[in-house]
Symmetry: C2
Subunit: 361 residues, 2 copies
Amino acid sequence: MAAGKIQAPIALDAMGGDNAPDCVIHGAEMALIRHPGIKFLIFGNEPELTPLIEKHPTLKASCEIVHTPHVIASEDKPSVAVRRGKSSSMWMAIESVKNGQACAVVSAGNTGALMAISKLVLRTLNGINRPAIAALFPTLRGECVMLDLGANVESDAQDLYRFAIMGDAFARAVLGLSRPRIGLLNVGSEDLKGRAEVKEACSLLKDSRLSLNFHGFIEGNDIAAGTVDVVVTDGFTGNVALKTAEGAARLIRTYLRDAFNSSPVAKLGGLLASGALAGVKDKLDDRKRNGAMFLGLAGIAVKSHGGADAYSFCNAVSVAVELVAHRINDRIIEEIGHLEPLRQNSLKLEAKTEQLQKETN
Amino acid sequence: MAAGKIQAPIALDAMGGDNAPDCVIHGAEMALIRHPGIKFLIFGNEPELTPLIEKHPTLKASCEIVHTPHVIASEDKPSVAVRRGKSSSMWMAIESVKNGQACAVVSAGNTGALMAISKLVLRTLNGINRPAIAALFPTLRGECVMLDLGANVESDAQDLYRFAIMGDAFARAVLGLSRPRIGLLNVGSEDLKGRAEVKEACSLLKDSRLSLNFHGFIEGNDIAAGTVDVVVTDGFTGNVALKTAEGAARLIRTYLRDAFNSSPVAKLGGLLASGALAGVKDKLDDRKRNGAMFLGLAGIAVKSHGGADAYSFCNAVSVAVELVAHRINDRIIEEIGHLEPLRQNSLKLEAKTEQLQKETN
C-alpha cells in the first residue's frame, strides 16, 4: 500500500468548504480505513472539532488537532486572504507542509486563496515559473490527467513544456502508468495549425531529449476519447474545456431524467435499467475524481471541491496519499533538472556548428 | 415564410464533402420542400450532376447547373486551394455570391479552403478585421449561438466586441430572438478574472451605447445551461470547447449503450424507454444544427459538416435561407456603422473634458 511509505501526517484544513468541518472529519475517518497507518494534523477551531472527532475513535487515535482562530471565507478575495489570513486554518495547514510537520495539505476551501497562499508559503519548485492545477477526467479508455485547469490565464511555450513534464509525473503517480502518452491541446492535429506558443511547445516536446512519450497535438474531442493520458493546455482553455464538458454532461443527464419521466412505460424502462444506469452515473461521478493538485510547488497541496461530501473529501485525501507515496516532486525535480544541462549542451552545440561553418567558408 | 423574401438563387458547391454530390442534391430537394420557391445555382461536374438531378423533378425545375472542371479535396491545404482552385466548384460558387448571381453559398467542402477563398473573394465587411465562425449549440433552455469556433486562433478585445455584434445579429436571424443575451466566455464571473483582452472586451461591451443585451462573463458550464443566447469567445477556446463537449457527449452515449447492453433486464428497460430515449437522441442530434456561418464577410457563406447526409445538408441550406431572409449583413453593417461615430463622439467628449479641466485649473 502506498500509505505504508508515508511517515509524516497529512495536514487538513478542517474549516474550508461548504460542509466543513463535518465532511472533512468524516472524510478523514474514511481515508484511514482506505489507507491504514496514515496520520493527520487537523487545523481548525478546536472547541468545534473536539466533539466531532470524539465520534470517530480510529481518527482520534491517528490525529492531532492544531487550534486556529480564523477561517478564510469562500467569498474572500485571494489578496485579502494573503494579507489577513496568517492565523487561519488554511494558512497554518499549508505552513505545516513548509515546516516539514506535514507531508501534504488538503483543503476544500477558497481555491484562489489556497493557490495564492500555497504559492507564497511553499514557493515554486526550482525551474518552474508557473504552477498548474491538474485533475482527472473520465475517458473511453479510463481516465486522463488534464492541466492547467486555471492556475494561470496565459502560458508560454516553456510553461506548456513544463506542464507536460509535471503532468507526466502526475499520471505516473496517480494513474500508475509507466509511460503516459502526452498530448498538446490545439484546434487541429496538423503542425501548421494553432497558436504560436502551442506550436513552439510542440517543437520543444518533439526535440526534447527527456524520456517523454509525446503524442503530438490533440483536439477537444480527443480528451474524452482517451487519445492520450495527459492533456496539456493553458489554464484559460483548460478551465473552459473542463467546465464545458461538465455542462454538457449535466444537459444530457437532464434530458435523460426528463425522458424517463415522460411516460409510465419509459419510467418502467428506467426502473428495469436502473442497475445498469447506476453504473453510468458512477463512472461520471465527479466525487470519484475529487482532488486537484497544485503542481509545481515545493510541497504537495491538494484542492478538494468546495461542495465535497465525506466520500468526495476522502478521495482528495487519497490523491494526496498517492502523490506523497510516489514522491511526485522528486520526479518533477529530476526531470526539470535535466532541462538546464540539456539547454546548455544545445547552446554549446549551436556555437560549435557556427564555428565550424565559419571555418569551412 | 422566410423563403418568400428570397429572390436570388442559393449557390451550392455540389462537389464538397464526404458524400458529395449525392447528399448535396438530395439535401437541396429536401430544402425545396421546406422552403418552396427558393432556387439553386449548382456548381459541379455537369455530366455527373445531370443524371442525379433528373431523379429529383422538383429540384430540376428550380435549379441551374454551372459546370466546374475541378474539385478542392478535403486534404488540400488552404494556401494551395487559393492558388490553384479558381475553376473549382467551391471557388465558382463563392464567386457567384460576389457577382450577385446568388444570395448565399453553402458548401460541405474543406473548411480551411472555404474560409480562405471566401475571405479572398468576398472580403470582410467594412469595420470587421476578422470574420468568425458561428454555430448553434444545444442548451437546457433551447439553443445558443457560439462564436468564434475557429476562424482565428487569436482575437483582441475589438475582435471580441465585433463578434458580440455579429453573434447578436445571428441569434436574431436564426433563433428569432428580439434581444439575445450576450455572454463573454471566461474562467470566472468576477470582473477581475481572466485574460486582458477578455476583460477589455467586457469593458467595451458594458460601456457600449449599442443596444446589445450584455449579460457579462460566463463560464464553460453556462454554455449548455443556456445562461445566455450568444457565447462570445476567441476561435481557439471556442473550437476546443465545442469539440470537448462533443467528446463528452460521445463518451456518455457509449456508457449508455454499454449499460443497456449489459444484461437482458437492462436491454428490456432500454427497449421500453426507447421512444423517450429517441427524443434525447434527437435533441442531441448534431445534424439538426448543421450549418456554421462565416460571419463578417461581405456575402453569406455557410459551411456544412463534411460528413453531412441529405437531412443535415438540408439544415445547412435552411441556415442560409434564414440569414438571407433576415438580411444578416445589413444588420451587422448597421450596428458596426454606429461604432465609428460613437468612437469619434467619445474622443470629442474626452478632448472637451480635458479642455475644461485645463480651464478650471
